[in-house]
Symmetry: C2
Subunit: 107 residues, 2 copies
């Protein structure tokens, strides 16, 4: 039962469209916070809080490089997450359906 609880807790994070989109995008490459801020119609703190939740449950890792913080997927030990991400629209599809410009200067 403990195992089901833990899995449910992690899956809860995928049950939000913003976080699911973030994870979909991270399947392709690491992303900088400012890119997400450009992408979503949402304040910078809102984005930051979603990333914090993903990080606190260990689904993403962060690494700071200069003034920018980059997030990447960290789900090698969570096959049930990988299984979902394999079945949802690709990073490219998600991105093109959003039709947004990303203007921050990271990299």
């Amino acid at each position: 039962m403990e195992q089901i609880n833990e899995i449910a807790d992690k899956l809860k994070l995928l049950g939000d469209k913003t976080r699911l989109t973030i994870l979909a995008l991270l399947t392709d490459r690491e992303w900088c916070v400012c890119e997400f801020v450009d992408l979503f119609d949402m304040s910078q703190p809102a984005v930051s809080q979603h990333l914090r939740k993903l990080k606190s449950q260990g689904l993403v890792s962060e690494s700071r490089r200069g003034q920018w913080v980059y997030y990447s997927l960290n789900i090698d030990d969570k096959p049930y997450i990988r299984a979902v991400l394999n079945e949802i629209p690709s990073s490219q599809e998600v991105l093109s359906s959003m039709n947004k410009e990303i203007n921050c200067d990271c990299d």
Copy 2:
């Protein structure tokens, strides 16, 4: 984006330990409501409402036989759900870890 939203809405249902357990159990066979009521430490209406949510999102089907109502999995058109259920503990594991007696008279 519409597709991601829909997937997120359905995954939200898996982010609750009771509903995830219900789905795990239904991978094996159909279950009667009264069995779930016996299994979970929760009122009958609470169980009923979880089942209603799963049904309203099309993840389970119900069929009444006499006074009993049986639920079964309905996820053939949702590969991202199937993918999760394939990666979580089996029905048997879940059940034995719960260590509960099921005493209702359905079949």
